[in-house]
Amino acid sequence: MYKEVLRSIEGIGIFPSIALILFLGFFIGLIIYLIKKGRAYFQDIARLPLEDYDDANNNHTT
């Protein structure tokens, strides 16, 4: 039965190619984005597990 459902989707054959292009694009974009932002931009979140309650405001934008 599930085969019939899947067969009824038109043009299902092109889905894999679309998915591949989308995700390759996503990864290349992600890497460019991270390089552009630079290391310093993420330094405060990287310290997150090390913070305890003396730290003033847990990255809040109050």
Partner: protein, 733 residues
């Protein structure tokens, strides 16, 4: 603004810690027992419940779901509230999660030795337990996601992303792989058959390793490495790339478990390509963990927590290098079905999962008891026992695996198999089996030392049941406009979870859907017929006894295999196999062409005492198959269930099944009697015994493609196959 004061629940952390180590020791011990059974097949006598085929799944389930499973909850219930600056959302759900999970483990401890199993690796538990797992897993997920929702820390730290991916993906894997139709209260058949079942199972099996034994432990690494070293993770940017690429790529790699099998070539190729790509994110994660210790290596010399973390992450690096290499065709051709794979998984299980788990136990226990570790020295002793135990386990298994596999493939100059007798190859590697048991014993000894050390630590302090912390509430949940998109995503748990789900679904859908849709992926063979009721019963006994743990039913298209076992296996031969029984390890020979190879009496004697037909065999004896009666009560329900999943038995055939079953059993029994086998060692051979059913199944295996076999010939039933099925019967490819 005033900070909120709140309390972390350490009682649940403590409970999961105790459960982790308790089930860990049990799982390791069962592992040692099965290791000893491969050296001394008579070890523990011939008690059905303690036979190798039933205990091996208990070992894998105990170690994966009881030891590593409780360790995951232990890590999550400790780190998640602290990273969210909020206690777990519901203590009641925490408790249900804990006791429910333990009840599931207990049901596995009871059902697996009783032979109640689906046979699908790491998914052996039967359907009522599958439902219980779903409920408890969803409860865990709700508790986790609601805690994240109620957090006081705007950004969701990378460890939590891995926890989210774990929850989402394990849920999807479990649901898809467990689609089964119950025949009775404790027996079900998967809706998938043969090649499709194999693909779904290994998509599940591989990703159980990925999302149960890897991603949650990576989350644990991202929390505990910075905590133990007291410095932030080496590169947060790397962790972003690590996370998304790992979860995207991992889900595709499953078919590398099925190289050279009857699985369509394109699916095998995808599995190989994605497995090789997987080195990149895996090593990215490993390096991120190790490089966090830059400038802190002096601490590793003193702190047992860091020692276990470092050896764990190093082992992870080794295993994730080995995995992609094993996915390359010609490496896989040698390593698959051999003990090399057993070494590979134990390097991961003993040091990566074991190492990180023991690191957590040594880190958390003193902290929740507000005390110091009782003895650093003992922890160091444990560290060396664990490491050397793993080394003594893994190296002999590498050696033995390659040796045996090369012996299987060795030809003489005349072109004949050099070692035609499978037993010669087992004898050769027996010393390696002995060394492996030594390694396991060392590992368990170390774990016992840790139990003492942790117990003394707990005794020297007092449990801080409710640990106070304070933080300011989040005033404005909306992300800051000036922030970039990934940082915004990190403060949006719902979108984050949804995106994770999309990313992991892609690979699964693209690989699985074509196999389900396109008929040409599984060429049908006209002469392949469904099993007779007696063969169905025999097959169910084969599953219950766990024969598939040691015997494959998949002959790869190599000359070394076709010479030894016969014609290589075709996809179309398995269309009625619910579930598929290809196996993943050849402790004994392949059985796909066993049908007709030996007379019935050979199987009878072999089951009663393997040594009588195969001197030196390490197969355990199955004397109870000669004394226990087969299950005739539920055959009608099983035939109905099989029809529901797609086997073309005619409507109403279930009412005739019993008569067919009895007639075929009589025929086999009479033949045995005529050949002088009225009894074996005083045990009378009668037609209702289990051994008759298993003989029927074994003799049927792999003979249909010869084309001259009608399994239902001579049986009293009037109509076996449905008209629809006959009309739809595709032409021979």
């Amino acid at each position: 603004m005033a900070a909120d004061i709140f309390y972390y629940d350490n009682k649940i952390v403590k409970k999961f810690g105790i459960a982790t180590i308790f089930w860990g020791i049990i799982g390791f011990l069962v592992g040692l027992i099965v290791a000893l059974k491969l050296i001394y097949p008579d070890f523990l006598g011939f008690i059905p419940e303690l036979s190798y085929g039933r205990l091996r799944p208990l070992h894998t389930n105990a170690v994966i779901f009881a030891f590593a499973g409780n360790a995951i909850f232990y890590g999550v219930y400790y780190s998640l509230p602290r990273l969210c600056k909020a206690p777990m959302w519901s203590n009641a759900l925490s408790k249900i999660n804990f006791w429910g999970w333990q009840a599931i483990i207990l049901s596995a401890v009871i059902t697996l030795p009783l032979g109640i199993t689906t046979s699908k690796e790491y998914a052996e538990l039967e359907w009522p337990i599958d439902i219980a797992i779903t409920i408890i897993w969803v409860i865990f997920g709700i508790n986790m996601l609601m805690t994240i929702w109620k957090r006081r820390e705007k950004h969701i730290y990378v460890a939590i992303w891995f926890y989210i991916a774990t929850f989402v993906t394990v849920a999807v894997l479990h649901l898809v792989n467990s689609v089964e139709i119950p025949a009775t209260l404790l027996k079900s058949y998967p809706i998938y058959a043969g090649v499709q079942d194999a693909l779904v199972q290994w998509w599940y099996g591989h990703n159980a390793v990925a999302f149960f034994l890897t991603t949650p432990f990576l989350g644990i690494m991202y929390y505990f490495i910075p905590k133990a070293a007291n410095r932030p993770i080496f590169s947060y940017r790397l962790s972003i790339v690590h996370f998304w690429s790992l979860i995207f790529i991992y889900i595709w790699a499953g078919p590398h478990h099925l190289l050279y099998t009857a699985l369509p070539g394109w699916a095998q190729a995808l599995g190989t390509v994605f497995s090789i790509m997987l080195i990149a994110p895996s090593w990215g994660g490993m390096l991120n963990g190790l490089l966090t210790l830059r400038g802190a290596w002096d601490k590793v010399r003193e702190d047992p927590v860091l020692k276990f973390l470092v050896v764990g992450i190093t082992a992870y690096g080794m295993v994730t290098f080995e995995g992609p290499m094993l996915s390359i065709g010609n490496v896989n051709a040698v390593a698959h079905y051999s003990d090399y794979i057993i070494a590979h998984v134990h390097l991961g299980a003993l040091l990566w999962n074991g190492g990180l788990t023991f690191a957590m136990l040594y880190y958390i226990t003193p902290r929740i008891y507000k005390t110091k570790l009782y003895s650093t020295k003992l922890a160091n002793v444990h560290f060396w026992f664990a490491t050397m135990g793993a080394v003594f386990y893994v190296i002999p298994m590498y050696w033995g695996g390659i040796t045996q596999s090369l012996m299987w493939k060795e030809f003489t100059s005349e072109g004949l198999l050099q070692y035609p007798n499978f037993l010669t190859t087992i004898e050769q590697i027996r010393p390696m089996y002995i060394l492996r048991a030594v390694g396991g014993t060392l590992f368990i000894t170390g774990a016992c030392v840790s139990v003492y050390n942790l117990y003394k630590t707990a005794k020297s302090g007092v449990l801080v049941e409710q640990e106070e912390d304070q933080a300011q509430p989040i005033v404005d949940h909306t992300p800051d406009k000036s922030e970039s998109w990934h940082r915004k995503l990190e403060s949006r748990p719902v979108q984050f979870t949804a995106l994770t789900l999309v990313v992991i679904l892609i690979g699964g859908i693209i690989e699985y859907v074509p196999t389900a849709v396109v008929d040409s992926n599984v060429p049908t063979i006209e002469s392949v017929k469904p099993y007779t009721p007696l063969e169905v019963e025999g097959r169910d006994i084969y599953i219950a006894e766990g024969c598939n743990n040691c015997h494959s039913q998949m002959i790869r298209p190599f000359r070394s295999e076709t010479e030894r076992y016969g014609e290589y296996s075709k996809a179309g031969e398995y269309v009625y196999d619910h579930p598929f029984l290809w196996g993943s390890k050849r402790t004994g020979p392949d059985l796909h062409r066993i049908g007709g190879k030996y007379p019935d009496s050979w199987h009878l004697r072999h089951m009663y005492d393997p040594h009588s037909t195969s001197p030196g065999s390490i197969m355990p004896a199955y004397p109870w198959l000669l004394t226990q009666d087969m299950d005739i009560e539920s055959i009608d329900e099983r035939i109905s269930a099989l029809r529901t999943v797609g086997v073309p038995y005619a409507r109403g055939y279930e009412d005739e099944a019993l008569a067919d079953m009895k007639a075929q059993a009589e025929e086999i029994t009479n033949r045995l009697h005529q050949n002088g086998f009225k009894e074996v060692e005083g045990i009378e051979i009668t037609s209702e015994k289990k051994v008759i059913a298993i003989i029927a199944y074994l003799q049927r295996m792999g003979i249909d493609i010869k084309g001259d076999n009608n399994p239902f010939e001579g049986l009293p039933s009037s109509k076996v196959l449905s008209e629809d099925a006959r009309e739809n019967q595709p032409k021979n490819n």
